[in-house]
Subunit: 195 residues, 2 copies
DNA sequence: GTACGATCTTAATCTAGATTAAGCATACTC
DNA sequence: GAGTATGCTTAATCTAGATTAAGATCGTAC
């Protein structure tokens, strides 16, 4: 029995839905279960889904010209994720999205997303607010990256995602922060000595 | 006589408007003329406007703990800009937005934005698409910042904003790229020697 | 005219973080 | 149990880019 509480409360935090709209929304979702390590979107292919994380955690990364995996973002419970560029413009994605732990997601395909917005235009508002908030977060992250030191970014990361460190391998956190795992290790030691 | 061609074509590229909707949109805009150097939003104050650049160019920056100005973004003609965080959540902005050249803008206040969306709900779709595209650009920028070298970022910047270098002081471009003006100068020389 | 303030450049030195490489866990497989 | 893959740590060395400081260039005010 699928549990839609989380996605409904995410949406209804911003807009009010009646019973019909609610059921149109839920019926356009497809549920998927992922084991830790499973890939849901692969670099080089077109992104098929816009993804809502119900339980678990995904990470999105791309592989740079030296073969190094660069983590763009983590998506924990109640977050939307996916490569919007590839998803909405039908070009090949340079990102791979993978489950870090066992994860349950709801996905919208491009056509289900489009018809959903046609049937429930109110959702334009929901996604407008969602994207607006993500945009704010991304802006903050950009200023952080080019004006904070690695140590400051790490502290800020820990505050923003307090639980993530417990199950995400440190090398991915290092990558997200834009440093090598070796350097993160050094930073961690420096911090623990201070404390 | 104010020229609304540019903003109408930006909006109508994504959604169709009838005459009434068009005039509601235009009448909720306030037009402002800025001289080069004029500030339209100031750090420490609440951001009053969501801004469409009709002619000219704005830049948004924040001043870090060492007093260094860090440029987050440039907004050239037909771009929207402004601190959405402060604008929509009514907290103090940490960004300042200033005209780099003589500039003409249209602005929406928070209440005019809200009532506009109520009167013309179609615009939710327009802003959803706008924010979605900005989000894609910001994501791209984040991966660029932590996996490209300064030289690569500079080349990529020149490709994306070919005209900007002609009137933006190089120190602001350096800041946008996340390097010191001295280093940008070095990079430029290195490139010109190669070419 | 020259004095002054920006912006840009060049060069010397310095540092945050990368790279390389070795050692040490834990965990999985045969 | 040994073998080995994977992740984390430590330490030595190296480099991209910062910092500092000294000119060069240009506008503009007096």
């Amino acid at each position: 029995m699928t549990d839609f509480k989380s996605i409904l409360s995410a949406v209804e935090k911003h807009i009010a839905l009646d019973d019909v709209e609610r059921s149109v929304l839920l019926s356009s979702l497809e549920s998927k279960t992922l084991k830790a390590g499973d890939v849901i979107a692969r670099s080089g292919e077109q992104a098929q889904h816009f993804i809502f994380v119900n339980i678990g955690c995904l990470m999105t990364y791309f592989t740079d010209s030296d073969g190094v995996e660069r983590v763009l973002q983590f998506a924990t419970a109640s977050w939307w994720t996916g490569d919007l560029d590839s998803f909405s413009k039908h070009n090949k994605s340079c990102y791979t999205t993978r489950a870090i732990v066992d994860t349950e997601v709801f996905v919208l395909t491009f056509t289900s997303f489009e018809t959903l917005l046609e049937k429930v235009p109110k959702l334009e508002r929901y996604f407008r607010i969602l994207f607006q908030n993500s945009l704010i977060a991304h802006g903050r992250r950009i200023t952080e990256i080019n004006s904070y030191s690695a140590e400051e970014r790490y502290e800020s990361f820990r505050q923003r995602y307090p639980t993530l460190e417990q199950f995400v391998p440190q090398k991915y956190i290092a990558s997200y922060l834009g440093v090598t795992p070796e350097f993160l290790s050094k930073v961690r030691r420096r911090i623990s000595h201070k404390a």
